[in-house]
């Protein structure tokens, strides 16, 4: 499986040595699963702290392999559909608080590697997840089909042959598993839609799901164009800006769970993509 994956990537010109970390584990960290699905005082991934939004409160569910309260009874196809299409095994659509619009851009091989990691490397924990508490009319899940029809159109992340392998890997990690745009891009349709591909990573004043997030484009004035790759590595691994400031808020969780634990090489790829003018 792993060999096939590597061979395929190599064939695409995306040779990616694991640098001491299996692909599934890398995707697990970068996907930030723990930031939403874990909370203090409970077993890892057995359900996260309530996510309070103007639409109501979401309760990120248990995603451990526990068959009763987690995703232990799922098949691989169930997982591929959840991540790739945003549809639960029972056929109901997920709320986009679960950033499936980004995950849906991942390759099938990567989703399988992530599934294998969640199945084999996460301890099952029996802990039921409470249902979401949303206000009317958002509490009606059927309405999500309209949302999907209007907005959900995931584009695969095609490698850019004009760029090197590191840039392409960075672009993939940022746009797919890293789901950076979910907070750092403004959403279409006054905050109701998907991260706007026309203003990718251009900063978000805050919308119905996420708080405000700065622009992280390569623009030297509005974005992070003045950062060096080393600055960005320090920030993504420690949470420290070049001014010695340490982030709090959601980004602190991203650093702790997602960009901190991954190999320096993956961070360098992310920096290559983020800092190169597009």
């Amino acid at each position: 499986m792993r060999l096939a994956c590597t061979t395929l990537l190599a064939a695409l010109g995306l040779a990616w040595p694991a640098a001491g970390m299996e692909r599934g584990e890398l995707l697990f960290h970068l996907g930030g699963c723990q930031s939403c699905h874990s909370q203090e005082g409970a077993p890892p991934l057995s359900g996260g702290a309530p996510l309070v939004t103007p639409l109501g409160t979401f309760h990120p569910p248990n995603i451990t392999p526990d068959p009763k309260t987690g995703i232990g009874s799922w098949s691989e196809d169930d997982f591929l559909r959840a991540m790739g299409e945003g549809i639960a095994p029972d056929g109901s659509p997920y709320y986009p608080a679960f950033p499936f619009a980004s995950y849906a851009r991942m390759t099938q091989d990567d989703l399988r590697a992530l599934w294998a990691y969640l199945r084999n490397d996460v301890a099952p924990a029996e802990r039921p997840s409470p249902p979401h508490e949303l206000m009317f009319p958002f509490s009606i899940r059927t309405g999500l089909w309209t949302w999907r029809w209007l907005f959900f159109d995931p584009a695969p992340i095609d490698p850019d042959p004009a760029r090197d392998a590191s840039w392409n890997e960075g672009a993939y990690l940022v746009r797919g598993p890293g789901h950076c745009a979910e907070c750092h891009s403004p959403r279409t349709f006054w905050g109701f839609g998907v991260p706007d591909p026309g203003q990718e990573l251009g900063g978000n004043p805050g919308d119905l799901i996420t708080g405000r997030a700065p622009a992280i484009t390569p623009d030297p004035e509005h974005g992070i164009g003045k950062w060096s790759p080393e600055d960005l590595d320090t920030f993504l691994s420690l949470g420290m800006t070049s001014e010695g400031d340490f982030v709090g808020g959601e980004m602190a969780k991203v650093v702790e769970n997602a960009t901190g634990p991954i190999p320096a090489q993956a961070r360098a790829a992310i920096a290559s993509f983020l800092l190169t003018p597009r």
């Binding site: 405000r212 420690l238 420290m240 001014e243 010695g244 982030v247 709090g248 808020g249 959601e250 602190a252």
Partner: protein, 150 residues
């Protein structure tokens, strides 16, 4: 009759002056604490540079001491009433004063631990202590008591 009108005007003017004064005072303390936070950031940047260059750990100790000196002043820089104005401080600082004070104490303890680790001359220990200070000291406090930046 007239006198009471004078008194009323005087009271309004005096009130306005006092209010302006307290706003200016709050702005002053806000500017001071922002400068102090920036100064601590600079010390942290210095530590990072020294560690990255595998430089003199005595410098790291000095930076850690400087941070502790600034931290000792921090609780007094958030007096009641300084929650409005050009500040990113969250109301939790004043509604949960004990929590805020203990977060500052935790940062101080981590800065102390960094000084001790640097004193052993082991770069790995100092690096770990530095990361802990940044994440749980600086970042820990920003997580609960500062508005998200950006």
């Amino acid at each position: 009759m007239r006198l009471s009108r004078y008194a009323a005007i005087l009271a309004v003017v005096a009130g306005a002056v006092l209010a302006t004064g307290s706003i200016l005072a709050a702005d002053g303390v806000i500017a001071k604490r922002q400068a102090d936070m920036k100064a601590m950031g600079k010390e942290m940047g210095g530590i990072k540079d020294t560690l990255a260059a595998k430089g003199d750990l005595a410098k790291v100790q000095a930076h850690a001491e400087a941070i502790r000196k600034i931290l000792a002043e921090v609780p007094a820089l958030f007096p009641a009433g300084s929650d409005t104005g050009p500040t990113d401080a969250l109301p939790a600082i004043w509604s949960d004063q004990a929590g805020f004070d203990s977060a500052v104490e935790r940062a101080d303890g981590l800065a102390d631990a960094l000084g001790t680790a640097a004193g052993t001359g082991e770069i790995a220990a100092a690096t770990a202590a530095f990361a802990a200070l940044g994440k749980n000291g600086c970042g820990g406090c920003h997580q609960s008591y500062r508005k998200p930046q950006g």
